[in-house]
């Protein structure tokens, strides 16, 4: 059995990072010029890492799947980014951000990593302002803040509802400066297919040029993957269409452990599914819960009328509304963490109180806020989200719908939980190195900081922390003894063999055993998504998970025996590229289901119905599951992976039951 070394530095949690930096090995400027680093991905983590490593003097090869680094899916993050600045003088501190993040993650994150994250959070805001990121400001000219779920302070910095866009464009601008300087070579419309290993270390990648259809070989002294999460395993999610887990799965197949795959975040406020032709789900920012109130009817008759379309939300007066989050969680109300809010919505809908024709939706209502602040102020805060909602649903949430007994009621939004983010990911040690030497994973792609549930506005923080402030230091500890290693030729047998395997694997996808009578990529992906959402979604149980594993085997067989991909290898072939990703989504689905089945407890985004309190809250089992579950590939997709445990050690925080009630 393999042994895990998480390389957590000595000393009290608040001093670990300082100690690490004081004693780590560095690479001198002349040697940095001799070292090449591959960074796959150009989201917040990838772009910030690529630009910062280049600023330091390393040579960077940077890959993105889209036509420009600026399109990476970080761009779609709406609400904001957390930092412990305490500009609002509301009692915030590095410790409190650390504590909230560990508690929000349901005590399943690694303490030392989270403390470091909270520590560098302030540097991120400074860095972004210096880059010219136009954060929201108060009239006095200082930075503005808003609140997010799971916190009782206002620590979230934002740029309208487009914070991810502005932070990514900031990182993209720094990246552009380094491309101009010749320190970063940028490869757009390239997709990584495999990692090349030489003598047990990652020494390069095979990437496909999506325009020419040709595989190409790239060598470097270290490889960093920053390729995001695996939410699209579920077919419908808030992820972009091209988001995939193939780079992570390639790393996993090469020996990188996959940690906590069952920790999947289901975001409570998305626009509900409307039909079977839908391609993706749209998120409505968590920031809406600052002023929006979530409710369903108190009376089942009203719910039935809403489902039948004979009543509208605005027909139901205040006294007949059940603001169930405020009722169940008085201390945090509508701002409970995402996993709690999602489960509460599911609970109401399961009981029959859903408010749309499918019974799978709840209301998010701004009547109280509009009556208190006026429509202009509310539109100033959320106007772009209201417009986005109206464009999709044809309903304007800021429109006065009815007046009952002198109270004005506005059209509420309808929302429902959807797959949004994945806390699990490639296992990394404190240095963000995977269990494969020379292979690093950053951003959503790794598992490290969010435990079993991520708090709102913390993904942007983690992506940028990893890329700007953590990896550029820690990777030097690895590279310091690589300075005498000459550049590898991409004609080395390892490169040729790995490329050959990629070509063979692609040929297999074009076999088309049933010709055009076979099934399309999307139709098989939808089947996978249905199984995942049904049995490995918000509520999981043993029987369901076992069924899912059987069904997933069937889907894999179908993929092998019935897939139809039109076109040829040469040139651009989108269907072929989608098929390549789907193969890995199926393996990912099995990983998620296996991990969920083994984890006999409920924590954060992982809810096992067998393990809940009488009030329906998640019930952890710290005695048996206080560890990171790492899965080790056994050389074949059909073989069950080996479970390796990294025990969690908490020194600074007392592990307790999460409480958002009082």
């Amino acid at each position: 059995m393999s042994i895990i070394d998480s390389k957590i530095p000595e000393g009290p949690v608040a001093e670990k990072w300082t100690n690490y930096k004081a004693h780590q090995k560095l690479v001198n400027p002349a040697n940095k010029r001799k070292l090449d680093i591959i960074v796959v991905g150009t989201g917040l983590a990838g772009a910030s890492a690529a630009s910062t490593l280049a600023e330091m003097g390393f040579n960077v090869l940077n890959f993105c799947i889209q036509d420009s680094p600026r399109r990476a899916h970080s761009i779609a993050a709406q609400g904001g980014i957390n930092a412990a600045k305490n500009y609002q003088n509301d009692g915030d501190s590095v410790y409190r951000l650390f504590y909230d993040t560990v508690k929000g993650g349901d005590y399943r994150a690694r303490e030392a990593n989270v403390y470091r994250l909270a520590e560098v959070s302030n540097n991120i805001i400074d860095q972004c302002v210096a880059q010219g990121v136009p954060f929201a400001r108060e009239y006095g000219g200082l930075l503005a803040n808003r609140s997010f779920g799971g916190a009782q302070v206002s620590r979230t910095f934002y740029a309208k509802g487009q914070t991810g866009q502005q932070l990514l464009l900031g990182a993209y601008s720094s990246l552009n400066r380094q491309i101009q300087a010749g320190k970063v070579k940028s490869y757009n419309r390239y997709e990584m297919h495999d990692v090349v290993m030489i003598d047990g270390r990652a020494r390069g990648i095979i990437a496909k040029n999506l325009v020419t259809g040709k595989f190409e070989r790239f060598a470097a002294h270290a490889v960093v993957i920053a390729t995001g999460g695996y939410g699209n395993t579920y077919f419908l999610s808030t992820n972009a269409m091209a988001c995939n887990c193939s780079a992570a799965i390639a790393a996993y197949r090469k020996g990188a452990y996959f940690a906590n795959p069952s920790y999947v975040q289901i975001h409570p406020t998305c626009i509900p599914v409307h039909g079977d032709k839908q391609s993706k789900l749209t998120l409505m920012s968590e920031s809406l819960r600052n002023d929006g109130r979530i409710w369903v009817p108190k009376n089942i008759e009203d719910a039935k009328a809403l489902q039948a379309g004979t009543k509208k939300g605005s027909d139901i007066p205040e006294e007949d509304r059940d603001y169930y989050l405020e009722r169940r969680y008085p201390a945090f109300g509508n701002l409970v963490p995402r996993d709690v809010a999602s489960r509460a919505a599911k609970e109401r809908c399961d009981k029959g109180y859903g408010v749309n024709n499918t019974g799978l939706a709840v209301f998010l209502d701004f009547s109280e806020a509009i009556n208190r602040l006026g429509i202009d102020v509310v539109r100033q805060r959320y106007g772009n989200l209201f417009d986005m909602y109206e464009e999709i649903t044809d309903v304007n949430p800021g429109e006065l719908a009815k007046e009952i007994n002198g109270v004005k009621y506005y059209n509420p939004m309808m929302i429902f939980p959807a797959i949004h983010y994945t806390m699990g990911g490639i296992w990394v040690d404190y240095e963000l190195q995977t269990s494969v030497k020379g292979l690093f994973a950053i951003g959503e792609c790794n598992f490290s900081d969010h435990g079993a549930n991520r708090l709102g506005a913390s993904a942007l923080m983690q992506g940028l922390a990893d890329g700007y402030f953590v990896l550029p230091y820690t990777i030097q500890n690895y590279l310091s003894d690589q300075i005498t290693v000459p550049r590898f030729s991409t004609d080395a047998p390892e490169f040729i063999e790995t490329e050959k395997a990629c070509i063979e694997a692609q040929k297999a996808l074009l076999k088309n055993p049933k010709g055009k009578d076979g099934k399309s990529v999307d139709s098989i992906h939808k089947e996978l998504g249905h199984i995942m959402w049904e049995y490995v979604g918000m509520g999981r149980n043993k029987a369901g998970l076992e069924k899912a594993l059987v069904e997933l085997k069937r889907v894999r067989k179908e993929f092998e025996e019935e897939l139809f991909v039109p076109g040829v290898e040469e040139g651009m072939n989108n269907e072929l590229d989608k098929a390549f990703r789907l193969k890995d989504f199926i393996l990912m689905g099995e990983l998620i289901a296996n991990d969920a089945l083994h984890r006999e407890e409920s924590c954060g985004g992982h809810f096992r119905e067998e393990h809940q309190t009488e009030e329906g809250e998640a019930k952890r089992n710290d005695e048996n599951f206080f560890y990171v579950g790492c899965w080790n590939y056994q050389g074949d997709d059909d073989k069950a992976p080996e479970l390796i445990k990294e025990p969690l050690v908490y020194e600074a925080i007392k592990v307790q039951t999460r409480n958002y009630k009082n």
Partner: protein, 251 residues
């Protein structure tokens, strides 16, 4: 509001690769009014695959109007008939049952077609690389609140920074000018104290790169502003002209 079926004819530009000769092809497709335009293309593509034909290639990613990946010139408008929305935010309720909808790629010398409806917008990246940044290395920043920035200025910078780099402005312009795109980035930094130090260098470098890459001149037709899915104002072009003039005068 109620969802209805809708059948339309999509007249789509098909072009096998950059060098091939392209042509329009008609496809009949049935969708619903609550389905997006790109999902309707998905439906058509599924249908084409089931017949063993190659699906239509088009750029798209986030499908929520922010990544700037989607393009398409629909019925003579970049991003179609909706205002302040990208193609991915366009829903079929905007069209009539039985309508013939013409779908083309961006047409611009600087954006060559890669395949079908997909074009190469690498020129936009090159313009940004020429100067679209504040020269600043990670690690040395002062406290974020050390320099107060008036809210009005910050808001204007944010409005300019909202550009998603889709290229609709270029596609809309009869001259194929990228002035709106360039001016948005120049304005964002010119409005903020962080960008002031190298404002002149930036304006000159980005304009020079734009000219070099074959974009046309601005003749103030305002078509770019009218078609911009993010409502980027042409007052940014006026600001760019001022910045550029001041920079040139200093030479």
């Amino acid at each position: 509001m109620a969802e209805k079926n809708i059948t339309v004819t999509l007249r789509v530009w098909r072009q096998a690769n950059a060098k091939a000769k392209g042509e329009f092809k008609d496809y009949k497709v049935t969708s619903t009014t609550d389905t997006s335009f790109l999902e309707t293309l998905d439906i058509l593509n599924e249908d084409l695959v089931s017949k063993g034909e190659e699906p239509i290639t088009f750029d798209h990613d986030c499908r929520e109007g922010i990544c700037g990946m989607c393009s398409l010139y629909i019925n003579g408008h970049p991003h179609g008939p909706a205002t302040l929305a990208t193609t991915c935010q366009l829903y079929m309720r905007r069209f009539k049952d039985g309508e013939v909808i013409t779908v083309e790629p961006w047409r611009s010398a600087a954006f060559p077609v890669i395949k079908d409806l997909m074009v190469d917008r690498n020129a936009f990246d090159k313009i940004q690389q020429a100067g679209g940044y504040v020269s600043f290395n990670c690690g040395g920043a002062q406290d974020a609140n050390a320099i107060p920035i008036p809210k009005e200025k910050a808001d204007l910078a944010m409005d300019a920074a909202t550009c998603v780099g889709c290229g609709a402005c270029v596609a809309a312009c009869k001259n194929g000018s990228a002035m709106l795109f360039v001016s948005a980035k120049v304005s964002q930094f010119a409005l903020l104290p962080q960008g002031k130090a190298e404002a002149a260098r930036r304006a000159k470098a980005m304009v020079a790169k734009m000219d070099e890459l074959g974009f046309g001149n601005c003749t103030n037709t305002r078509a770019c502003e009218a078609e911009c899915p993010k409502g980027i104002s042409i007052s940014n072009i006026a600001r760019l002209n001022r910045e550029f003039l001041v920079a040139k005068l200093k030479d």
